[in-house]
């Protein structure tokens, strides 16, 4: 039990205040009756009702969710494959290039990825719309999934796979019945990461979308370019609330699971 020094306490406090106050301010002002965000005119939920009545926003939200679910699911499959290849694949022709292609998108500026993909689609004659956004999002998401899953695979005990093979499972069965269930938490967090990245993406969507497909970030962008907008405050609050509930729930669930596992092990060690 180490007591934190004053310096550390101050650092932590300042850090978390810095991270959370802006979001808190958004939430508070979303209930501001006045359209002038910085003048408090009383509590009101009217911006929420206006937001929910705004069809353009709702359509955009729907498109965004569709794209996010599709792209993150494909990205999870491809990313897990890529992780498996990187960690277990041994040497193969072009491995360095493959590894480079997995890590580069993690840091590549979005304007470059967006521009290059759009030019490719045009060169291919592809109509821009939901399909092209999904293709684009899948591409950069799979790299993030790959990093998450390969980091789990590296600590995975290989003898479990060998045991499965030894007992008669084919390599595919061994992966499906033993490896996958055990690395499932990592695969799921990879999916969640891909989902969030897709949900949140503006630049690449701006490049690769078409007239029929407007995503929520794009709608937010067109509103905020002109300055503060109370509807956006309301939308922000809704998004922040959803994320908070999700993250806190996941965190509590994993804490519970860890506690339960620890208790089981202690019980087991005490018997016999």
């Amino acid at each position: 039990m180490t007591r934190l020094s004053l310096f550390n306490v101050v650092s932590l406090t300042f850090g978390f205040v810095f991270l959370y106050v802006p979001m808190l301010i958004l939430v508070i002002y979303s209930f501001n009756k006045s359209k002038l965000v910085t003048v408090w005119a009383g509590f009101s939920t009217k911006w929420y009702s206006e937001l929910l009545a705004n069809d353009a926003f709702l359509d955009a939200a729907w498109v965004t969710v569709k794209v996010a679910v599709l792209s993150s699911s494909i990205a999870t499959v491809l990313g897990t494959m890529a992780a498996y290849v990187l960690v277990r694949g041994g040497r193969f022709f072009g491995r360095t290039l493959f590894s480079g292609m997995i890590y580069a998108p993690l840091v590549m500026p979005e304007v470059i990825t967006g521009l290059s993909l759009l030019l490719l689609f045009i060169g291919m004659g592809l109509d821009r719309g939901v399909l092209t956004i999904v293709l684009a999002h899948t591409t950069f998401s799979m790299c993030f999934v790959s990093v998450v899953v390969s980091s789990r695979l590296m600590t995975f005990d290989n003898s479990l796979e060998e045991a499965a093979l030894d007992l008669g499972a084919s390599p595919l069965e061994a992966f499906r019945l033993v490896t996958l269930p055990i690395i499932a938490p990592a695969v799921i967090s990879g999916w969640l990461l891909a989902f969030t990245l897709s949900l949140d993406d503006l630049v690449i969507a701006a490049f690769t979308s078409g007239p029929s497909a407007t995503t929520l970030p794009m709608k937010i962008w067109s509103s905020v370019r002109l300055g503060v907008s109370p509807e956006i405050n309301a939308l922000s609050t809704i998004l922040i609330a959803m994320v908070t509930i999700g993250v806190v729930a996941a965190s509590l669930a994993s804490k519970q699971a860890a506690l339960r596992a620890k208790r089981d092990e202690q019980k087991a060690a005490r018997m016999t």
Binding site: M1, G15, G94, M101, I112, T138, I232
Partner: protein, 305 residues
């Protein structure tokens, strides 16, 4: 029968293995690498009032097309002040932001690593939560804070620290704040991870041998968390260099960042060839940091096993 590789190890059926490698590989080749080739080709083209707004295209025939490509756009980039100023300005802003993020992030990561064991998962969750929240919204939040009638000015006026509102929004300062704010989790997490793995008894050994607290920090802690620092800096610097949203929302017309320039060149001016040339040059600038980043990550990954 399967092929044996150099170590006599059998591949999981060579066909299946080839498919397993081929699927993500082909996807990335097609949708990551080849687009760069396309960008390069278009950077060598000329602007044209047509759909698509560049010439020549494949329709003109392959050899014809290849013969009409030139480096005109790249020359143009060197001639017009705007572009190289934007590159330099971007480098400057990205570097300063990275350093600021490091200065702000390291103490937080350090404090987290020194916190009591049971707090750490909660602290981690608190750092990660903003990361899961929409990036766009979090940047947008600062507009309301930094504007002349915004929250910060109201607060400073109220406590009497200033007499007139500070102009922060639409300046480079706002961009710095925005980048630090948005990329802070990317700096904290690798550093925290490195510090967490640090063996506390090393510090104790140093103090036992006569080091003061502060000296032990500089001589032991910092060097041993070096990998985390490097990873964090790359994770901030490289994307910050090409940032578009933050300079657009928080910066002013005087804020020159290459990401903004590229976007405007593409959408406002509809000059795709020049935009492509801008992208190519940016990519060239970034190749070395990206390769270094990837190299560092691989080394870390291998060291962890």
């Amino acid at each position: 029968m399967g092929q044996l590789d150099k170590n006599g190890r059998r591949a999981a059926g060579p066909m299946k293995r080839a498919i397993l490698i081929a699927m993500p590989y082909t996807w990335l080749l097609a949708l990551f690498l080849i687009p760069f080739a396309v960008v390069f080709k278009i950077s060598l083209s000329d602007i044209e009032l047509s759909i698509p707004p560049y010439t020549p295209t494949m329709k003109d025939g392959l050899w014809n097309m290849l013969s009409r490509l030139d480096f005109e756009n790249f020359v143009f980039l060197t001639q017009d002040d705007l572009y190289w100023k934007a590159y330099v300005s971007s480098l400057r802003i990205a570097l300063i932001s990275t350093v600021l993020t490091l200065v702000v992030g390291y103490p937080i990561a350090y404090a987290m690593a020194r916190a009591p064991e049971q707090w750490r998962p909660t602290l981690l969750m608190l750092v990660i939560l903003p990361f899961w929240t929409s990036f766009l919204i979090r940047v947008y939040a600062w507009i309301g804070i930094l504007s002349n009638e915004g929250f910060l000015n109201k607060f400073l006026l109220w406590i009497g620290l200033i007499n007139e509102p500070l102009t922060i929004l639409n300046t480079n300062a706002a961009v710095f704040i925005g980048i630090v704010y948005t990329y802070l989790p990317f700096m904290i997490l690798p550093i925290y991870s490195a510090l967490d793995r640090l063996d506390g008894s090393l510090i104790e050994a140093a103090e036992d041998l006569g080091c003061s607290r502060i000296k032990a920090f500089w001589l032991i802690t910092i060097p041993l968390s070096r990998n985390g620092i490097i990873a964090g800096c790359f994770l901030v610097f490289i994307p910050a260099l090409g940032e578009f949203v933050i300079p657009s929302l928080l910066g002013g017309s005087g804020t020159l960042m290459i990401g903004k320039v590229l976007f405007e060149e593409f959408f406002s001016n509809r000059d795709w060839p020049v935009a492509s040339a801008v992208a190519v040059v940016l990519l060239l600038i970034l190749i070395i940091p990206i390769v270094l980043f990837q190299h560092n990550e691989q080394k870390q990954a291998e060291a962890d096993t």
